[in-house]
């Protein structure tokens, strides 16, 4: 095998190696430049707060606020117009709970279309609907009892 062939093979192999590396990087370039958000999701409103919060309330019998029904903070409420409603022990939470079993940013209640749902934000002790610990955003309706630590919350009209 001639010296030139070996040199060409060597350079060709390094080229293949780098072509692979660069294609792998180009597949994940959206990490750097941001991902495309589909047109349908973008057009209504970028933050999605006002319309999404108001859309459900137009319907008859839709919930208007979240009420703490049991626990140390019973009676506290938050308006759903300011959705998403953050629940936790931290000072930025819309419903601040003084409950040792509640994480700083514990859960969130938000709207999608006509429905409201509760999403656990990676809390320590979990968010329960009934006796079931939720693992992903779960629909709640009027009167569904959402348990967070020793506190129970409900959607109310």
């Amino acid at each position: 095998m001639s010296e030139l062939t070996l040199l060409l093979i060597r350079i060709a192999y390094l080229a293949v190696l780098w072509i692979f590396v660069l294609s792998a990087i180009s597949v994940i370039r959206s990490d750097m430049f941001g991902a495309r958000v589909p047109e349908t999701a973008r057009t209504p409103e970028p933050r999605g707060r006002e319309p999404k919060a108001k859309a459900p309330s137009k319907r008859r019998g839709s919930p208007t606020h979240v009420l703490v029904t049991e626990g140390a903070n019973a009676g506290e409420r938050a308006d759903l117009a300011a959705a998403p409603v953050l629940i936790g022990r931290g000072s930025d939470a819309a419903i601040r709970l003084d409950d040792d079993y509640v994480s700083t940013r514990h859960a969130r209640i938000a709207a999608s279309g006509d429905q409201w749902f509760v999403e656990d934000l990676g809390s320590t002790n979990g968010t329960y609907i009934g006796t079931v610990r939720i693992t992903q955003p779960t629909t709640i309706t009027l009167g569904t009892q959402v348990r967070i630590g020793k506190t129970i919350l409900e959607l109310r009209k």
Partner: protein, 466 residues
Amino acid sequence: MSQTTGNPILGFVHRRRRGAELFLLVLALAVGIGAYAAVGVGVEGAVPTDLIGYGGWLAALVVGAHIVVRLVAPYADPVLLPVVAALNGLGLAVIHRLDLTEDTGFAAQQLVWMTIGVALFVGTLVLLRDHRILTRFTYTSGLAAIVLLLMPMLPLIGNEVRGARIWVRLGPVGMQPGEVAKVLLVIAFAGYLVLHRDALALAGRRLLFVDLPRGRDLGPILGMWLISLGILVFQRDLGSSLLFFGLFLFMLYVATERAGWLVVGGGLFLGGALVAWQLFSHVQTRVNVWLNPFDYYGPGTNDSAFQPVEATFGMAWGGLLGRGFGGGDPGRVPFAESDFIMAAIGEELGLTGMMAVLVLYGLIVERGLRAALISRDGFGKLLATGLASVFALQVFVVIGGVTGLIPLTGLTTPFLSYGGSSLVANWVIIALLLRVSDLARRPVPELTTADDDAGDQDTQVIRVAR
């Protein structure tokens, strides 16, 4: 660890990118099989006769893994699997090249181990549909990891190889339990920290700009420090000791967002390292070889620096573009197929090839941390962070050691080195990372329309996307 996930309710959906994965896999196969063919041409002067069989087997493994990912983890990260396939293929080719000069048969064995690794990868993805199940095994896996770490110390099955007591020999099969233990330790730490991170982060007092944790919260970190010191003292394994302690420190830092832990842990590590350096001759030898390699090389010395010095010669000879497969003499370095495989790559593929390999490792770590960032649950975040930092630490420790940046410690280069336990454990790590990223990128399932009369709350349907 703040929850900065994009609002999933907004309607942004990650694309599956399985086509991109397949395209990258074809390129990865070109990297692996091309290296094998180049080795044949360079060393023996002809394309190897079994190229089709070898390439077919490699392609079957990789495509099989791809199909399983398509079926059970459709939203998983598209880059991880191809990068791993390329590294593994390149490693096989380099081991094969060393086999040809040294007349050993490591490459065939490594291919068997790769097959087992891919089988476990597939098994992990199929059986583990949700990584959160692993939180149930927090303490079980922690205990199992400690048992595995102690196994080499047992009289009958423990086995000392080249001064490090990290081997277990059960009949004909030898394994390094530490490689399996590192995966279990990540699971245990993630499960422990996700429960206790509030206590670790919020309690404590401030001293000289550093948030120090409470005394009683120091328990686990002191325990981990003692375990890694024990590995250092009794098993004489510098690399693993550094790996486990560093891993724990990274995960504590990520879980609590307190830089104080890094200060405390770094201080503990430095103290432990200094004491170990004072007390143990093998640590002193390593440091001396690192500082003055040429005092321990050549006739008239005990030649304890022979391996790193030959590796440095090899890499220098390789230069920018390398000698080409078959053009170098990587067989001069003892154990070039395991600990020093990066030296062989540096010699025959040059700095250009070595940089490519390093970038590939960087990509694996980046994808792991990316999965952690977009993961929706705390356990998944910590698990992915831990697995990515195991990878980063191991690559740093071993490649830093081979290139002379830090004192040399014995660890395998993930996916490249010859070694069954390490290869299999790393394939499982990749499967876990793919599982976390699959759940993180998967869109929130569409929820069933609740009826207005809300009469059936007790039987509410929670639809799970599969």
